[in-house]
Symmetry: C3
Subunit: 107 residues, 3 copies
């Protein structure tokens, strides 16, 4: 059984928005688990250096759901171009990886 376990990173504008997105992903079985962390972001927008307090979502999922995951996030997100990037899980505890698979609906 091919799997594409990954950690998907998304940033949100507030804790409220982060929780709303995380709950929707878990309830719709697009993610097994989502952790939230407050962060301070520095970036450029239209050549201006900007700074903002945001919230980082770390989404543990299977990338075969990526299109549905991306669609769901964009539907709920307040940003025009939200960060949605995937880091590969190349090894893991077998029982935990199985738990991820059990939580995720095969769309």
């Amino acid at each position: 059984m091919r799997t594409d376990y990954a950690v998907v990173l998304v940033t949100a504008s507030s804790r409220l928005e982060a929780e709303k997105i995380a709950k929707a992903l878990v309830e719709k079985q697009l993610a097994a688990c989502v952790s939230l962390t407050p962060i301070h972001s520095i970036y450029t927008w239209k050549s201006e250096v900007c700074q903002e307090d945001e919230w980082q979502l770390m989404i543990k999922t299977d990338l075969r759901q990526f299109e549905q995951l991306e669609t769901q996030i964009k539907q709920l997100h307040s940003y025009e171009v939200p960060e949605i990037i995937a880091l590969p899980i190349i090894k893991g505890s077998a029982d935990y990886l199985n738990w991820i698979s059990e939580q995720i609906q095969k769309y």
Copy 2:
């Protein structure tokens, strides 16, 4: 010399548990460095959406030690199925990667 540098992610129930696991991994030379961060987790357990404050461990190590690392974490961890997942380090500062190698015992 083949290397498998990686960042291994583990979540723990409290700061105390996170520190206990981190110290054991570093003292037994199963990890070069472990960083701890408070997180808020949202996940499903037996079809119920749950929320909990946890601690995230980011373990900088070499995956050739993964079995010993996994065994040590499971011995100390309070969860039945702890998160233990590895992200690959594909590039890095040579002197820092050498430092990782020097810290880790070849089991």
Copy 3:
């Protein structure tokens, strides 16, 4: 167009140092975005287990800039051997990945 999108992890000794490095990377278009998070680190230094509060930088960039990124970080960093390690972005929202490319100067 080959791309090497990645998240580069760096730890800094203080928020001030973290912000100084992050601003320089963004202003010089070596990074599209940098997020900062307070962390607690446990590691060994000359066989002693040490603990320290630090700041984690998560740098969203393209690894074709890695040498320039590494040089810039080392010029500004207070550590002799700073953590500079790259995790591969293997999938992402197309418009966000394009945004990363637009922010980064082709050196």
